[in-house]
Symmetry: none
Subunit: 246 residues, 2 copies
Amino acid sequence: MARVRVVLINTTHPGNIGATARAMKVMGLTRLHLVTPLHFPHADATALASGADDVLQHARVHESLDGAVEGCGLVLGTSARLRSLSMPQHDARAAAGHALAEAGEYDIAVLFGRERYGLTNEEMQRCHRLVHIPSNPEYGSLNLSQAVQILAYELRLAALGGGGHSEQPLDWTPVDAVQMGRFIEHLEQTLLDVRFLNPAQPKRLMMRLRRLFNRARPDQNEMNILRGILTAAQEASRSGEPFAGE
Amino acid sequence: MARVRVVLINTTHPGNIGATARAMKVMGLTRLHLVTPLHFPHADATALASGADDVLQHARVHESLDGAVEGCGLVLGTSARLRSLSMPQHDARAAAGHALAEAGEYDIAVLFGRERYGLTNEEMQRCHRLVHIPSNPEYGSLNLSQAVQILAYELRLAALGGGGHSEQPLDWTPVDAVQMGRFIEHLEQTLLDVRFLNPAQPKRLMMRLRRLFNRARPDQNEMNILRGILTAAQEASRSGEPFAGE
């Protein structure tokens, strides 16, 4: 549980930040990260945190998602409904079981989007897995702190062994989100160098590729290989002497 | 679910009644009973109910617990901690399973006590079973509507036949092994072309890369992109004119 961080993105109502701190602490979570909150610190946050003001005081505020997921080997994105995206989706219970099985190895981030519309597509592309909380199909209006409460509850049960999951921990340690970000930048530059990418419209394709490599979750060794391949492709595209031998 | 009622006893803050209505509806519960609420109806209740004002409007207010549990064959009392009482005690998950199994026969009531101190001993004696929600032993301050949210969530999962589901994305069909094999061959040739691969010993590295891409499980579209990238890298390595522009 100590390696799980809750990341709230662009929260509008500071009261929800306070209620989230309380929802976390009551289930034993302490690490709160805020990406560009609209109002924070704020009296409403403090009021609704109740006895969890220590969680608020230690909350870290970030200018972008990058900082909030630094050091995280697994990033989960919460979504009110199943999405038609090419990435694994779990309900809250399965996701908590998976996450706890990995939480010994590296930090885990659980992302929660805005009150009005959740995570953007681009933010979801940054995740390894999506988590949905089963809810009423006719009224899926789950309050932000309630969503955090359910995830925190499932994580606690999984930590107590009550989640019913006996997942094997991964036998490799995936690189963190920052390294993945650097790889994606390197990949983008390489695709421009080999003229695969249309410089005018790189975003959509790069999002697809990030999603693909996030699914693979390369470890440090594999990342080194991938970076080496990119560098070789860049050099070959410059030299134009591909068959010059070793 | 239609036979489950939520009973709030002597609630102090009307906002909690509204948040409870929302927490119920989002999980498909609709029947709210209030025993001597301090303030109801109240603007705070309506505000926090969000789109669940129908649940509030149909809420029934009672002068005593008797009216609220009339017609109920099973009464569950929620408690922040295990009690030394001579009655069956379950955690939220087990309680939800039990309750749903009986809910075909008669109505089920789930009682929630006051914000400050929960149910009185006398109220607990009126219950057939006690339910506790596992929480942080050092900070068990679960907000009323959050407690309702967790129980409602567990009831919904029990009604759906239990949680713990992982789903593959709906529109995602990974390519078959033959296509993956062709891609790996193409990748190997490209890595030779850009002089990344030592032609004497390609096998070990190619096995690693196959494993990596197998984990990602690309679909047809993604495979087309990957093959396109390889072809572009091969052509760039031959032409040596990477910056000729589009």
